[in-house]
Symmetry: C2
Subunit: 577 residues, 2 copies
């Protein structure tokens, strides 16, 4: 953590800052720190709420929480808030019993409880949440959601601690965008399913393109502030091209640059006699194009100042106006939509795929007229895969992962921990090797200093931020390695529909498989080393061994001190629960 961030976070979260990481050890785990979990614990009352867009697997978090609570004490009570955070504020609850759970186990959607408003942010909202938890005498509140909801959960935990409210707040990383990632959180519930369903459909379309040989398919995928879904789907289905928002932002590509890139690809393929192809793009792409982003910002400021939609275009700066006027009519209308609550544009409504298809078509016509392109006419079909996958049955991985997170949430609450996110790590390995635990929200926070980009109004306020695709990371490296072959050789791959038994049912996302993420596993490994050195070097050991140990440890410490300014105040430890 950046030390400047640390100060700011500590100031904002004095009571929940600096708590240790926690691990759950089962009785079969033979480490010296093993603590046996008592079989029967005192009954607890817990509330649970869905926040944000429905992610496949959400129901299983509740099932896992329910199962863990009841197995430790059948008298424990689990209350679900109906209609999302609105239900939380209005104390609208449903007692979650075995009957309820059995209907929704392994099912998609959030329809067990529903969701409406997706935030707990204003003072009224936070106070309403506090009142509810006190009135219902809750020992714990579990918030199921993504980046924003878990930031809200962190704030709630701090407020509850300040108000000496006995309700502990725990968050669960459930978001199909897959952008709530850090050293403690390896994956998000829903991402695996969403990528698999979309990859199935993309592959179907690739096969369709290859069979009919007459269309370019432009497919817009979910992914607002990060392009994880587009990257994973590209790795699974091998379309000809994928344009990530992160690439565009990093290279500062203009709309014309992107159009030209696609046209060059179309032309190169035409020279091989290929007039079909599949191109993926995330919905956030439009905001990552610098000049379009600037235009959107101007529009949003004008709308905020009460300028009516019909007059906005007249009040744009000359430069923005020129860009705006160059756009096709359908996209003009979509750019004028009011921004969402997080100040980003209404990305699900802006048909970037159609914009690009039209720009490419007219550029190819120009090239045909100029005589620089001699191939057949360019034909395109556009798709937006925004809703087809969200309500899907969760994959086996998401079913298991969500259920394990539900269990982990219970154990955090039973241990009386407040302001934690439930974590399950070592996910790359088989389920029986997964490790449950928790990490404090504050350890995942950063402070944004950039003046531009969506969410810029949060400047200075510590938050859990969405993590963009790492252009130096292994998954992107994997994509780059084969990008040229994917583009020209039609190496389409069809992972097929999600399977629940047999071949393929244990597949995980490619991102998860190649990323090197087992942070907590490595922390444990390090501690095992320290423990071994401690046992080897104690009164009775030889002078030589002692000397060698001392000098090695001194240099280790020196290196670490140089590398990490924050190393002095370790935030790692163990808590029994």
């Amino acid at each position: 953590m950046d030390p400047m961030d640390a100060q700011s976070i500590q100031r904002s979260f004095p009571l929940t800052y600096g708590q240790p990481l926690v691990h759950h050890f089962s009785s079969s785990n033979k480490t010296p720190l093993d603590i046996h979990a008592p079989k029967e614990q005192k009954p607890i009352r817990v509330g649970v709420v869905f926040c944000g867009r429905q992610s496949p697997g959400g129901h299983n978090v509740i099932c896992g929480l329910h199962d863990a609570m009841k197995s430790h004490n059948p008298k424990s009570t689990l209350l679900g808030f109906c209609g999302g955070t609105e239900g939380l504020f209005k104390q609208k609850t449903l007692e979650i019993t075995e009957d309820v759970v059995s209907k929704y186990r392994n099912q998609g959607g959030y329809d067990m409880l529903g969701r409406t408003m997706d935030q707990i942010r204003t003072t009224e909202q936070v106070n309403a949440g506090l009142t509810t938890c006190q009135t219902l005498k809750l020992d714990g509140l579990v918030i199921i959601g993504g980046v924003t909801s878990n930031t809200d959960a962190a704030q709630l935990a701090e407020t509850f601690a300040e108000a000496k409210c006995s309700t502990k707040v725990v968050g669960v990383p459930v978001t199909f965008y897959g952008d709530l990632k850090n050293q403690f959180v390896e994956a998000n519930v829903g991402f695996d399913t969403i990528c698999k369903v979309n990859s199935q459909l993309i592959s179907n379309i690739c096969i369709d393109a290859l069979s009919a040989e007459k269309y370019y398919y432009f497919i817009r995928l979910m992914g607002r502030r990060a392009s994880h879904v587009a990257l994973e789907c590209a790795l699974q289905s091998h379309p000809n091209m994928v344009i990530l928002s992160e690439e565009v932002a990093a290279s500062k590509l203009t709309l014309y640059d992107i159009t030209k890139q696609i046209c060059d690809a179309v032309q190169a393929r035409a020279e091989l006699g290929k007039y079909h192809g599949v191109i993926l793009l995330p919905e956030g792409l439009i905001e990552s194009i610098p000049e379009v982003y600037a235009l959107l910002q101007e529009i949003h400021v004008l709308l905020k100042n009460g300028v009516s939609v019909d007059n906005v275009s007249k009040q744009l700066s000359p430069w923005a106006s020129a860009l705006y006027e160059s756009m096709p009519p359908f996209i003009k209308k979509q750019l004028l939509l009011s921004p969402e609550s997080d100040e980003s544009a209404q990305l699900s409504q802006i048909e970037t795929e159609k914009l690009l298809a039209q720009l490419v078509e007219s550029e190819m016509e120009t090239r045909t007229k100029n005589g620089t392109y001699k191939g057949k006419k360019f034909n395109s079909i556009c798709h937006f895969f925004g809703y087809q996958a969200r309500g899907s049955l969760p994959s086996k991985f998401d079913c298991d992962y969500a259920h394990a997170l539900g269990h982990a949430s219970y154990h955090l609450l039973a241990a009386g921990l407040n302001g934690y996110m439930a974590t399950v790590t070592n996910l790359k390995n088989d389920v029986y090797k997964w490790r449950c635990g928790g990490a404090p929200f504050t350890a995942m926070m950063t402070v944004r200093r950039l003046l531009r980009g969506p969410g810029s109004s949060l400047i200075g306020k510590p938050s859990i931020h969405p993590v963009a695709v790492d252009l130096k990371g292994k998954p992107y490296e994997l994509l780059l390695r084969d990008a040229e072959k994917f583009l020209m050789d039609d190496l389409y791959s069809n992972p097929g529909p999600i399977q629940y038994i047999g071949s393929g049912s244990d597949n995980k996302t490619i991102c998860l498989s190649v990323e090197d993420q087992d942070y907590m596993g490595r922390v444990t490994e390090l501690q095992a080393y320290l423990e071994k050195v401690r046992t080897m070097v104690k009164p009775g050991c030889s002078q030589e061994v002692l000397k060698a140990a001392l000098s090695s440890m001194a240099s280790v410490l020196e290196i670490l001190t140089l590398m990490s300014p924050a190393a002095k105040s370790s935030i790692t430890g163990h808590v029994k629960y």
Copy 2:
């Protein structure tokens, strides 16, 4: 068969008309008519071609054909025509070996060979086909396609017979529309997969609607001249509403009637506090609305007469012009597109779902202003599921069915039969009870006398026609039974993704399960009865038995003669092969 049709068909197909139905009996079948298929047969040369839109399972027909040919004689040669019928005309072939087959076994798409032009109709085309078959010395030509392609195949068979060409023509019913159905053909390859993939997506969207509770989803499905896909998907996923073209045509509903029906449903649901829903419609719906159809016909006639797109609207009749002008701009543009080769409108390009959503939205606004509707604002999201499923991996059923049809095709050719469609019946039962055979194309033909409706230019020419959803049939009855509950109670059902192992992997379409279709099975059953009577009543039996038999059979014959004018010339028999 209507006797008037029979005459007309016989006139058009003098050489391939009146051939018997054929059944394939395996050596384990103990009926008296059992004929043992010889293990080694003389090597044959066969060509195979994909016609029409790619259907999941198409590859397996070729795999089945290849496997059957090679198992009876490894020296047999199978040639695939590259690029559909265009490859047939240009003699562009690929020898299909075990290597080729192993890459495409159980895979979706038509990319083993591709497809381009989809017809063999003009004299030039038919002659080119004839030349190819003679040059390549083919013993057989297998045409994989739907209604139109099999009609073309019938014509080709007749022409080949006339030209004394030794190539026999066999068709295979492969079309995801599922509209090539008759007493001999129970199902089409691809329909099972398409309905399963679409039902998976529709269910996902139903769950999404129920979780977010704020949108009506309008989903347009494939189905041009018949709504089988929409009906089957509705039976699998239980959306709130489905509007079939056949219902609209039968009740002569206007665009306003349909809009009103949907608005009434939206209003009734709003009274229960429900502001979400899912509505399915087939792409052919727009043509089934009488006044829109009349408008489209006027437009197509004007376009045919060389009127430019910009001038069409000015030359419409006052009535058609009024309707045209009342339409939203995007649909106006789409209605002006030139018709397809079968004279139907470009249905994949006409966004009927958006038209209905807009009409419903403005009607709900009117009702709000009038004070007759007091609920929340109506919000919609539109989808067209036209391309996501076509390239899918085929379901287990389609894999098996297609492979069996490939086998059946081989046996028809090996028996020297010309002008037949390969059939596999008793599909409702387990695979080992399926029955392979063939039926002459001419036995499936009818002659259209109606003056209106797509394909009206074919009047008087016998064809295999697409079969519409039977509004008196069992699948539709099943839908009607629950329609009210589906509409109001959100009984969404999620069949989930296609499975290849375990629970659900042997599911068949609901239409297939409830339809009563085993025609050839019942023919066999009847013949068994006749055989039993023959054995019971022979010299030596008592006078009483003989009298009873005589009088019963006389009355049976009398009833049958009254019922079927064509009964005198039976077209059923057995051929050994």
